[in-house]
Amino acid sequence: MSDQASPNPKKILCIEDEFFISELYERALKKSGHQVTTALNGQDGLQIAQTNTYDIVLLDLMVPGMTGMEILRILKDPSQSPGFNSKVIITTNLDQNDETRAELEAQADAYIVKATITPKELASFIDKVA
């Protein structure tokens, strides 16, 4: 639908282990004109993020293999991920303790509680971030 198309289509990597959620996100974001790649576990997601260029990385904090926080630290460390400059949006349903919250605010570009936002709303959220 033309009224849903993003004014600024992006290349997006979605690291999300819940298949239903990744399916919904991928569908809604593609519908908005974005190009979407999905990784269903942390290691694959990290490897894809390090070897390709994306505008946005949607990063779930609880993914198998590696935690989202570990992935975020590696992606934001220039010595481990040279050339990485995608914006990282944390997607989570987990409440954060103070330490994690502070670290996320320092490292990530945006943060959403997944249950409070529908896939369509995520698409417009991405337009605000990027």
Binding site: E18, F20, I21, L24, Y25, R27, A28, M62, M66, E70, I90, N93, L94, D95, N97, D98, E99, T100, E105, A108, D109, A110, Y111, I112, V113, K114, A115, T116, I117, T118, P119, K120, E121, F125, K128, V129
Partner: protein, 505 residues
């Protein structure tokens, strides 16, 4: 050595000259005088006088050539002895005989003393370093080229669960039984560093160390130097963080995990409901469309309930932290009410907004304030009975704060129960029988508004509807604003965006 040989020769000559020579000369003189003068007394006196003169002369010579040099050497030894600093240094200018030898020995004495002092100072420095290392609250382990332990401080030995003496000379892997949570292990890093690097440094967080009966959590920093001048090939710094990591794990509490488990299927439900609305709504009749909207509104309600449970848990554990930022209340309130329209509509309610123009900007935590309004409007939707209008108004109150009121024309609340409304789990007997709920909403509203520095109030009478109001402080009046904090994170109802240009001041 030449000086010393010369000195020995001088001593030998002196012994000969001071003992035999005067005696021999005097005896010869005595014999000559006795023969020539034939006068024994004069011969004796003359030879004795000569002997005395010779003895005095030779002894002066002996004093200058032996006693004075020995005195100078003795003074030099005393001068450098510990606790004898009051003894003056020897003066060797007055020594004429054996001057070179004496000055050479004295210089050697002073050289030896300074070397000894250097060694003593070095020993002292080593002792101080050892004390400092042992008093450090971190473990330090230094390994040689064979990966054997060269040095460990007290804390390091304690972490490893063995005495220093037991640890020294042991191989690194005999000492440290480490478990890493990914494949980037110390073993792998060290193998890579020794094969490919001259020097390298790295760090690991949250490494498990098995030491005897208990395990510890460590942060580890490592430095590798292939050609270290003193053979310190690998230095490990171990910082124990057992308590920190344990508390971090515990802090993901039962409630947080339960909320996570509830929110995950809720995310999916909301997503699929939205997908159905998007893709098949044009194939549905009005009745099925209304079912769809009810599903959507119900999933939003469920999400609000889950958030309430989490918030109560945070409030109870004193972990409800607000991050205030400057916001336009008109915009925020409209956003929130817009997001609630579906929930009102499926219950045949209509929300009217009445916001005074030119309200000052407010200092709020937007996510929390979203929950305040959602709870109040949800209550109004649930408890307004047959009345179909809910009015949300906002204006500048007399005290200079921004006041927001949610008003319904429902059956109202009996005066007897009004006082307990903001208490946790409080539900009036009547509402218990007629409307579902858990009695957390108003408790959360009060907690959040109070944390913002505002106040909540309720005005209700049976049969005359209810008004729930709260105040928020204008941003300019907040202490945080006066402290000139520069916000870089913009909070929205569903999360936050860093450095969001649309919202930046």
């Amino acid at each position: 050595m030449n000086h010393f040989n010369k000195f020995r020769q001088n001593v030998l000559i002196l012994v000969i000259t001071t003992t035999f020579l005067p005696t021999a000369i005097s005896a010869s003189l005595f014999v000559v005088l006795a023969k020539q003068l034939d006068n024994m007394p004069i011969a004796i006196i003359g030879s004795v006088l000569l002997l005395l003169i010779l003895l005095i002369t030779f002894n002066i010579f002996l004093y200058n050539s032996i006693i004075k040099p020995l005195d100078a050497i003795w003074k030099a030894v005393w001068h450098i002895s510990p606790g004898k600093s009051e003894i003056p240094p020897p003066s060797i200018e007055n020594i004429h005989l054996g001057h070179d030898m004496v000055s050479s020995i004295v210089m050697q004495i002073y050289d030896l003393a300074s070397t000894n002092k250097l060694q003593t100072d070095q020993d002292k420095d080593n002792e101080i370093s050892k004390v400092i290392l042992d008093s450090l609250p971190i473990g330090l382990l230094i390994f040689d080229k064979e990966s054997q332990l060269k040095l460990v401080n007290s804390h390091g030995a304690t972490l490893c669960g063995q005495s220093k003496d037991d640890l020294v000379k042991k191989n690194i892997y005999e000492i440290l039984n480490l478990s890493f949570d990914n494949e980037n292990t110390l073993d792998k890093w060290l193998a890579d560093a020794s094969a490919n690097k001259i020097t390298d440094e790295t760090h690991w967080d949250n490494v498990k160390l098995d030491a005897g009966d208990n395990s510890k959590r460590l942060d580890i920093s490592a430095k590798y130097s292939k050609n270290d001048s003193v053979g310190n090939e690998l230095i490990l710094v171990l910082a124990e963080k057992t308590d920190y990591y344990s508390s971090q794990e515990k802090s993901i509490s039962y409630v947080s995990m339960a909320v996570h488990e509830l929110r995950t299927p809720l995310t999916m439900l909301r997503g699929y409901i939205e997908l159905f609305e998007e893709e098949i709504s044009d194939q549905l009749d009005e009745e099925h469309l209304s079912f769809m909207r009810k599903m959507s509104a119900t999933s939003q309600n469920l999400n609000a309930i889950v958030s309430n449970i989490l918030n109560v848990s945070r409030i109870n554990e004193n972990e409800f932290n607000l991050q205030l930022s400057e916001d336009n209340w008109d915009t925020v309130l409209r956003e929130i009410i817009n997001s609630m329209e579906l929930r009102a509509k499926v219950r045949q309610k209509h929300i009217t907004l009445d916001i005074s123009p030119n309200l000052p900007t407010v200092g709020i935590d937007k996510i929390s304030m979203y929950e305040v309004v959602v709870n109040l409007v949800d209550n109004a939707i649930k408890y307004s009975g047959q009345s179909d209008t809910i009015t949300v108004s906002s204006r500048l109150a007399n005290d200079g704060n921004v006041e927001t009121v949610v008003k319904d024309d429902g059956p109202g609340i009996p005066t007897s129960v009004v006082g307990g409304l903001f208490t946790k789990f409080y539900r009036s007997h009547r509402s218990k029988d007629t409307v579902g709920g858990n009695g957390l909403g108003l408790y959360i509203v009060k907690s959040i508004v109070t944390a913002h520095g505002g106040q909540v109030w309720v005005k209700s009478k049976e049969g005359q509807g209810s008004e729930f109001g709260f105040t928020i402080i204008p941003y300019a009046n907040l202490e945080e604003a006066k402290a000139n904090g520069q916000d870089t994170i913009v909070r929205q109802a569903n999360g936050w965006i860093k450095n969001h240009s649309l919202y930046r001041r």
